[in-house]
Subunit: 431 residues, 2 copies
């Protein structure tokens, strides 16, 4: 027994997500100093012993795209046209945000994510110093960078640079370059940001081809799609994470494949904003492009539940393709575990339950009426994707640290945070 | 204080769903002998006092179409072509079902529905005597009838007739006529079933125009859509509840409107089976047709969560119509409360929180990270539809009886039921 060990014992099912997608029955997992040391029949003693009877152990889920602080605007404005929603509701509020507001919004998001089994997320917003503070306080794994547009690059590029240097070697927070979108960043801005990414050898993260209008406008004014334009500029490489991508052309997909870019798909948000099309995933998978799923921000979702995101991803893509075999339960689970781990270049560290990997793990409680019966291994995956909801997660471990056990978030006064968030939001809106 | 009274006190928000869709703040609801007697500031003493602080009270949700016993097949076969799924997986198992299996499956479904805040459901399956037994044991409100096809009408019509007579005046179970579908029931069968419905003055419930193939086949062989055919036969009237209706033509919608029929929409199931289109709801609403939502059976959903169904209904119809304003949160909530109460001709009894109505009520616990902050009344509806999940329901009352309080189902040994279900299912599959 070391000073920092955890034993999951008698786990009903372990969904490993290893290369053979093995599912183990009645096994234990032993963790030491944050890493998985043994999977099998360990009876070793440990500091924390967690009973897995009736439960399913799986890798923590990865939310590949969100704007965590936007929990502040959850339910504030729904069922509106995109432009009206942004221009009359969201942007006016965002313009009033102070750093501490972003801290509070992100704190609330982190609580929700832990509760719903998300152990790692990719965040794009403003005041990232304050977001990083929240993320470190709670203890999630996070990819984070200040979002840059043409209008803020002068001020925010140095801020971003300082942020990157500060977090470059952190064990939980990894800085990346957040360029907002091809339509909101000039060629000059994009090239400058690419230069930064190259300099630090970090990832780039950008909204691309979300709406039809965006693509049509590009084609009209430049004679190219946004992706063709980015390619011509020399922005595209294996560090580029393109989010949404609903309106990619076949040629765009081929370019992304050739340049080894990654794609993040946000089905709930894109349906809610009625963007009219999902990314052409069949072709994207054929071309071996890495894909992850994201909730997007809470203002357009309106939660951070990756179980819901998995299910809706499977449903909407089956529907769009008119193919009930498309995005199987196993595939959906891959898109929130091992696949995005590849996008973030940490598949050697997380994304599966394997010896030597970091313990970013969750337990899902299957002792519930909506998760019965069980017909064997395949039902476990089906139930996780098609029957579960975020609230079924009862234990969350990140970096070998128990953050939630039996649905209790350890060492955090949630009520106090809810009250502070409520006060902050009322002040923003009344101002 | 009477011998059977309940007081919900200090309820944060009451979503009345009354004709003015009022939302009340910090009020109480007093219930006596199963009925709502007072909404306001009552300080009356009661047998049960339920604290509503931090919670939202709303009418119990109505699941307008399911096959409750199919919980048995949850996760047994997913991601398959419809015919392959039915012919190779579902039908072979169904052929082995015994009455007690259907009892157990329905028992499990009732537990799940109580947990997720469903107080009333419309069920279509076999061995309804045994399903009724389960429903009565748990205490849900249910519309129920033996499903009839050409191949079983000889034996099942007398069975169904006896069932109808038995339950005609029950306070929870209401018999209806379940005709399977226009493609599986001959004209003679349909007319005989219509006669039964007329005789007892009860509702009729049927799958209609679920798949494109069904409609094309009808048009090819009879020169008419299924709806045109049903109309010509004289089956359509205000008692007819048509489920799915994905492939209705404009003319079909006009016929349904003229005949005053009702429609049930099952978005999750239809997306999962990749039926390719949702019902033309814009036209359906324009024509003032009553609409409800249903989960369909657990084999094609794979849960009974009407919160999920509301959200997905809003998402998929926004997506299909490319209109983010379509199916607002308020509209989605209407489709699982007061609107289906009209379909089932009990809107004078349930579907809203109003004085004189029966107490079919649920409390949703908003003291959770994914349900914060609250920007005022409208957020309550948005959060219920876009952020909640079934597990957020913490109290369920049906017919004035407390079935679940603080997430504990009273007087029922859930574990025992799970085990019996598991044993039954293993026997069915291994036989």
């Amino acid at each position: 027994m070391t000073s920092n060990s955890i034993l999951f014992e008698n786990v009903d099912w372990i969904v490993t997500q290893n290369p053979r997608r093995e599912i183990l029955r009645n096994k234990s997992v032993y963790i030491e100093d944050g890493k998985i040391v043994e999977i099998g029949d360990s009876k070793l003693d440990a500091d924390h012993i967690i009973n897995g009877r009736g439960k399913v152990l799986l890798p923590g889920l990865i939310n590949s795209h969100t704007h965590s602080s936007m929990t502040l605007f959850r339910g504030y404005a729904d069922d509106m046209e995109l432009n009206h929603w942004l221009e009359d509701k969201i942007w006016p509020l965002e313009s009033k945000l102070k750093p501490h507001d972003c801290y509070l919004g992100s704190l609330l998001a982190c609580l929700e994510m832990i509760r719903f089994g998300i152990t790692c997320f990719n965040d794009m917003y403003i005041y990232v110093d304050d977001i990083a503070k929240a993320v470190k306080e709670i203890g999630l794994r996070c990819f984070l960078g200040e979002v840059i547009f043409d209008w803020n690059i002068g001020k925010q590029l140095p801020y971003s640079d300082k942020f990157t240097k500060k977090w470059l070697n952190d064990d939980l927070i990894t800085p990346l370059v957040n360029m907002h979108a091809p339509y909101s960043c000039s060629d000059e801005t994009l090239l400058k940001l690419k230069e930064t990414a190259d300099k630090y050898n970090i990832l780039m993260h950008m909204h691309v081809s979300e709406t039809e209008k965006e693509v049509r406008d590009f084609q009209k004014t430049r004679g190219k799609t946004p992706v063709e334009h980015l390619d011509r500029l020399g922005i595209l490489n294996d560090k580029l994470i393109a989010v949404h991508c609903n309106w990619l052309t076949n040629k765009d997909v081929d370019i992304f494949s050739r340049r080894n870019c990654s794609i993040v798909h946000c089905p709930v948000s894109n349906m809610k904003l009625a963007n009219g099309r999902m990314p052409p995933l069949k072709r994207i998978f054929e071309k071996n492009i890495r894909v992850g799923l994201g909730t997007d921000g809470c203002a357009s979702n309106n939660n951070l539940d990756m179980f819901e995101e998995m299910k809706v991803c499977s449903l909407i893509n089956k529907f769009q393709e008119r193919d009930p075999t498309f995005i199987s339960a196993q595939k959906a689970l891959d898109l929130v575990t091992i696949e995005p781990a590849k996008i973030f270049e940490i598949d050697n560290k997380i994304g599966s339950v394997e010896k030597g990997k970091i313990a970013d793990l969750i337990l899902v409680d299957f002792r519930k009426s909506h998760l019965h019966p069980v017909h064997g291994k395949n039902t476990i995956i089906s139930n996780l994707v098609y029957s579960c909801q975020g609230s079924d997660v009862d234990t969350t471990i990140i970096n070998g640290k128990v953050l939630m056990k039996d649905r209790e978030i350890l060492g955090i006064d949630e009520e106090k945070i809810f009250k502070e968030v409520q006060r902050a939001v009322e002040k923003i809106i009344s101002n």
